[in-house]
């Protein structure tokens, strides 16, 4: 099943409340996905700096001295902000590639969740409310964010099976549905040198989009071609630096509801995810059309 929520703010006055609004939406979607939950939040960034969000199942062992050791390895200062099993590393934008490589060597147990100027991805196994509390999601601020509650169908209930998946700098993907050709596509992508870490179908979808974009496609083009190359059921929500996009497969049996007012654009797998948003009574409520790519951006 799975639940997806997304919130894109038009009114800057709502930005301090982004985390609170998204958390409420996420918890409402608990019975669509009680296994695990995740959120991509687009907050403040600094020009020329990149945030590398990492996770470890043994945070005390892996994260305690990570910043100085990583700084030494890549020859630049690295800042760190620890949040439960996650940490946000702050470093020079040009050093991301080196940092990813060094993290893999220094701490093989660490998983990189995302990188980018503004994005931070947090995800863990557990009920959405527990996950939200662990990361204090309701206090996070930002311009937009997307969240996911997972009911596992295609792979095990693990942190790497949870969404969102990073698809590139400041980009991510969440998915409701199941891809039926993911094994074949995983083999093809891995032969082309694409790194895929789990047996999860959505990770393959994310890797596919990343690979398309690395070969020159825009995100919109990559999503369009996914209609041809991905077989199965999907409602995708993609987060971008400036906003988010939505795509449903041509059959469109996975639900999707949009709500728009002068202050925000909201996405929910169901209408009940939107009912606590301010001014929802007067919002324009509609369902995205199948096989159609939508984007909202600043």
């Amino acid at each position: 099943m799975c639940g997806i929520v997304g919130l894109f703010l038009k009114d800057k006055e709502l930005e301090p409340r982004l985390g609170e609004m998204l958390t409420q939406m996420l918890i409402t979607m608990s019975d669509r996905g009680p296994d695990s939950a995740g959120i991509a939040i687009y907050g403040r960034g600094r020009r020329g700096k990149t945030k590398l969000t990492v996770q470890s199942d043994r945070p005390d062992q892996d994260l305690d001295d990570l910043a100085p050791e990583l700084g030494q390895a890549i020859g630049t200062e690295v800042g760190i902000r620890r949040i439960d099993t996650h940490a946000v590393l702050d470093l020079e934008a040009g050093r991301v590639h080196a940092a990813r490589k060094a993290v893999r060597e220094l701490r093989p147990g660490i998983r990189v969740m995302s990188d980018g100027e503004v994005i931070e991805i947090y995800k863990e196994v557990g009920l959405p409310k527990e996950v939200a509390d662990r990361f204090d999601l309701s206090r996070m601020e930002g311009t937009h964010g997307i969240g996911h509650t997972r009911m596992a169908t295609e792979s095990a209930v693990t942190t790497e099976g949870a969404h969102p998946y990073s698809t590139g700098a400041d980009q991510c993907l969440v998915h409701n549905g199941s891809l039926s050709n993911h094994n074949d596509l995983r083999r093809k992508l891995m032969r082309k040198g694409v790194r895929i870490e789990s047996m999860n179908d959505t990770e393959v979808g994310a890797a596919y989009l990343t690979w398309k974009m690395q070969n020159g496609a825009s995100l919109g083009d990559a999503l369009d071609s996914s209609l041809e190359d991905l077989d199965g059921f999907f409602t995708f929500v993609v987060g971008t630096r400036d906003g988010f996009g939505v795509l449903r497969d041509p059959i469109a049996c996975k639900p999707a509801v949009m709500g728009e007012t002068s202050r925000y654009v909201a996405f929910g797998s169901e209408y009940r995810a939107l009912v606590s948003l301010p001014g929802i009574e007067g919002a324009s409520i509609w369902e995205p059309e199948p096989a159609t790519v939508y984007f909202w951006s600043h």
Partner: protein, 227 residues
């Protein structure tokens, strides 16, 4: 008029109270407030009640209805009035996918648009949509009437057995074995009655009728090599 606050008292309580009403009940009229998109509101009613839901509903509202009149003063989520036997359901806003699926009888009126698969596998229900319907509507329809005052999406009436489909606007494409058919006087009469009952002032003559070409009823030996 009985008022039930769904947020305060919960869903099971509502459906239990409604199920407890028998045919001669004097508590006929019910109002459900604060639905907040909840699932399975007023499902399985079997007494001649009048239930008004003050807001939008989630999955499967008014499913399996037998004899009640249920009005949703908002939009309805997937599967509204699924498998209705008799009575009527009116949605003031839009309806999500598979509205009226597998319905055996009664009348479903959607005053906004209906999404994909409206009337899928309908078995005798009458459905009147004031706006448009999405793709694969009336898929495998077996009996009943689907009236669409706006446009129909792709593959209308795919693999249709029987049932009459009336569309006033455009049809994006017809599904397998669904064809346009002649509008005879008896069809005008059926449509006129449905439009009146659905509170619509459209002229029956503006509609086109679609139905089964009955080519899929029997196996065609010329297709044997396709399997």
């Amino acid at each position: 008029m009985q008022t039930y606050d769904l947020t305060e008292k919960g869903l099971r309580g509502l459906n239990s109270i409604l199920h407890a009403q028998h045919e001669e009940t004097n508590q006929v009229s019910w109002e459900v407030v604060n639905p907040r998109g909840s699932h399975a509101i007023a499902v399985g009613l079997d007494a001649p009640l009048e239930v008004t839901v003050k807001g939008s509903t989630g999955y499967y509202c008014a499913g399996m209805n037998q004899g009640a009149t249920i009005r949703v003063e908002g939009s309805a989520g997937p599967g509204v009035a699924e498998n209705m036997m008799s009575g009527s359901v009116v949605v003031e806003g839009d309806a999500s996918q598979y509205a009226g699926a597998t319905g055996h009888g009664g009348l479903l009126v959607i005053k906004g648009n209906a999404s994909s698969r409206c009337g899928i596998s309908m078995k005798g229900i009458d459905i009147v949509v004031h706006g448009n319907v999405g793709h694969m509507s009336a898929f495998m329809a077996q009996a009943g009437n689907l009236v669409v005052c706006g446009d129909a999406g792709d593959a209308l009436g795919d693999s249709i057995y029987e049932a009459r489909l009336f569309v006033r606007g455009s049809v994006k494409s017809l599904g397998a074995d669904c064809v346009e058919k002649e509008m005879r006087p008896e069809h005008v009469d059926i449509l006129k009655d449905l439009l009146e009952r659905a509170d619509l002032h459209a002229k029956p003559q503006e509609f086109r009728r679609y139905g089964s070409a009955r080519k899929l009823y029997n196996f065609d030996i010329d297709n044997v090599a396709d399997y």
